[in-house]
Symmetry: C2
């Protein structure tokens, strides 16, 4: 990569345009994008100005929207229009959805009429739905055509579509009725009707289906291309598997950040400054700090007990920590089981029962540890029994809550990962102190 | 699905084998597998016995290994051999890797010679590498063939490979030199040499490359099929994108469970009993409980101070909680940034600097909250200042450690997600108490 960069810089300096174009064309668009990121702004501009328009479009698609705006604003109007027309419809829509509305309208106005209309149609669909993911560059054919006719149609359409490997078969109303792959066609007798060789009832998704469910369908059926239909069954577009992989990566990032109570990041980490990072995280931190203050009140209420038997304070980190950790574990397991559809709301009691028993087992082991700690160092079996019992009860509550909360949140159509590790930890701090002092009053005082 | 089940059950009861076969054939293998999961063991056996062998193989591939063993053990020897031969090589290897070694050898011995040899070759590669993921059912052609010759070869090989859409071009030593897609062939002049239309230098991976990196490559280059080559460049197999999606799902599950300190699960959640669940979680809980006991010792060491000013104990949940939460947030962000390759070890100081400043900002806001709490309810500005300062220092340490630890762990070639939320929370409990009491001694006493 570094050698390539030097080579490109030399070619740029000497204005060897032809050689430069040839060199760049041997690389993948994602590699050219990487290279450009490491160059100065004026170097970038020179390269943008000499790239063939289709390669420029592929490279453009690799950038994030803030970089894309920069590129768009730095090239002249004629080339700007050409570039926009050349983008894949789904990538074009993704870009336009991210930019200010007046810039969006301005760009739509300079595009070719057909592309602009197509784009406006796609812009209707919310970003995180099947419609928001799909491209309109696919091949559909009527079911009465012969294989030969279809092959001829493909040859004509070739340069205008994203993939030739899947051809969708429709009836006279454009309703999706079947699917043939290019290999079905190649292996078939040319005189056959396409409806006689097509796979009927291909898996398809509805335009407004949530993108996470789209990803599940693709993973479940092991398919590379998924047709998108409207409520009448009319085919509107296709989703390709590379976009699905991006969705999966996006959704899992979101889950991990939510589970870590870390807020959302608008772009890549190294581009964020500390103020942006802090802004994303402060809300949860402040809410959880308030819960921490509630825990403080519980200690404050019981300060008389603590000042009498200060040894009791020694166990607070162990008790609070263990309950929070056991809760975090259960939540992590449950979020994953929900994300993969292994557990559904109908499994509520089964899951809670399972986690409750798991909590009892874990609490018993931790309780023995706490008991040993108290007897060895505090020389008090009463404190030991109290600590041990608290650990059993706490851990069982923590694991049960760890099952209940994500299930309930999911049922309410929120992302179960909003039940973060820090949230359950803070909730368990409060619970754990309440139980501890209650048991202290019964057993010790 | 429920209607289908009833229909199938009626057909089974009336022994309408032909009708049953026809009905089942209209469904996808994953749907048949789902249906079978809801049936009794004897119903399952009847259906296994009537499924066409290729459909049986596809359905078999949808099951987890414990279910697969059950199936294998319940069908007769001749059909068992047929089934094994019919499996996709990568799925066959996945299954054989999961079962006891004597069963594996027994099954290999009843397979057809060619398939058994092929399988033994694939079994050499570790499970989580490119070699462990690949299938050997792909098409390779010599670069000197004409397009017509290649098309004829494809037609002959069609039923023996997993995908026809990508054809790999090799030299006389089987070294990978290019790639043609089926659409390149269809669109090309039949008399051309394949080497004149192939894409040179196709993206490929080395047999022993880790599966997570394989998934990155596929996501980066937006490809559906990835060739796998050995150290001499000889093509050994291909990886299809559906397997890559499974890898991504597997890896993100692993990350989430690690980050939640929840251990590993060997099969799906609802199949686990509480003892298995507890076994997966107890190790981390016990380790973290020991850290909790260390925190207890710090309190114990300072119990004299606490018994003098019991109000100081009131702030421990706020201080420990906030530090743990801030650390968890930073770790979550860093694990994601590392997983997506946004941050590398060379960005160490940049990241730590960023997180340190973020911690200062967050700590300042939390500190104001702590100060307010102390002044309002404890009527003590000295305690308030101590708590506020502790929060600033703690939070800055927490966010910085949240950047440092995952980066270092990743550098040591471990998964950064082993730095779990509970782990950083427990570490911060200790740190936070040490700093609190140190500041108490300086400011208050």
């Amino acid at each position: 990569m570094r050698i390539l960069k030097q080579e490109i810089e030399v070619l740029l300096k000497n204005k060897q345009i032809k050689k430069l174009q040839e060199t760049l064309e041997t690389f993948e668009s994602v590699e050219i994008a990487e290279l450009l990121r490491s160059m100065t702004f004026s170097q970038k501009l020179s390269i943008f100005s000499i790239l063939e328009i289709d390669l420029l479009a592929r490279v453009f698609e690799e950038f994030e929207s803030d970089e894309q705006i920069q590129i768009i604003e730095s090239i002249d109007k004629a080339r700007k229009a050409e570039l926009l027309d050349e983008l894949h419809p789904d990538d074009r829509v993704d870009f336009l959805q991210e930019i200010p509305i007046d810039l969006k309208e301005q760009l739509l106005s300079i595009m070719a009429q057909k592309e602009a209309r197509e784009t406006r149609e796609l812009l209707i669909y919310p970003e995180q739905t099947a419609g928001g993911l799909m491209t309109t560059k696919f091949i559909k054919v009527r079911k009465d055509l012969t294989v030969r006719q279809v092959v001829n149609k493909i040859k004509k359409a070739a340069k205008d579509v994203e993939t030739l490997s899947h051809i969708y078969v429709v009836d006279e109303n454009d309703v999706l009725v079947g699917l043939v792959t290019l290999q079905d066609l190649v292996l078939s007798n040319m005189r056959k009707k396409v409806k006689s060789i097509m796979q009927q009832h291909p898996v398809s998704v509805y335009t407004l289906l949530d993108q996470e469910t789209v990803a599940h369908e693709v993973a479940k059926y092991d398919i590379n291309t998924l047709p998108v239909v409207d409520e009448r069954g009319i085919i509107k577009g296709i989703i390709t598997v590379d976009d699905v992989i991006d969705v999966i990566n996006e959704e899992t990032t979101e889950d991990m950040l939510k589970f870590g109570a870390a807020g959302e990041l608008s772009s890549s980490y190294l581009k964020q400054n500390p103020f942006l990072l802090a802004r994303a995280r402060i809300l949860w931190l402040a809410i959880l700090a308030l819960v921490g203050i509630v825990s403080g009140f519980i200690i404050s209420k019981n300060s008389l007990i603590l000042s009498q038997v200060i040894a009791l304070a020694v166990f607070i980190p162990l008790l609070n920590g263990s309950a929070g950790n056991a809760g975090t574990q259960a939540v992590a397991v449950m979020i994953q089981a929900l994300a993969h559809g292994e557990v559904k709301f109908k499994d509520f009691w089964k899951s809670v029962h399972k986690e409750f028993l798991t909590g009892i087992i874990l609490g018993f082991i931790l309780g023995m540890l706490g008991l040993a700690r108290a007897v060895l160092f505090q020389k008090s079996s009463l404190i030991g029994i109290t600590v041990g019992l608290t650990l059993i009860i706490n851990t069982a509550i923590a694991t049960s809550l760890g099952a209940v909360l994500p299930l309930v949140v999911k049922r309410m159509n929120f992302d179960p990962a909003v039940i973060s590790g820090p949230l359950i930890t803070s909730i368990m701090d409060v619970t754990s102190l309440l139980i501890y002092f209650a048991l202290v009053k019964v057993i010790i005082l």
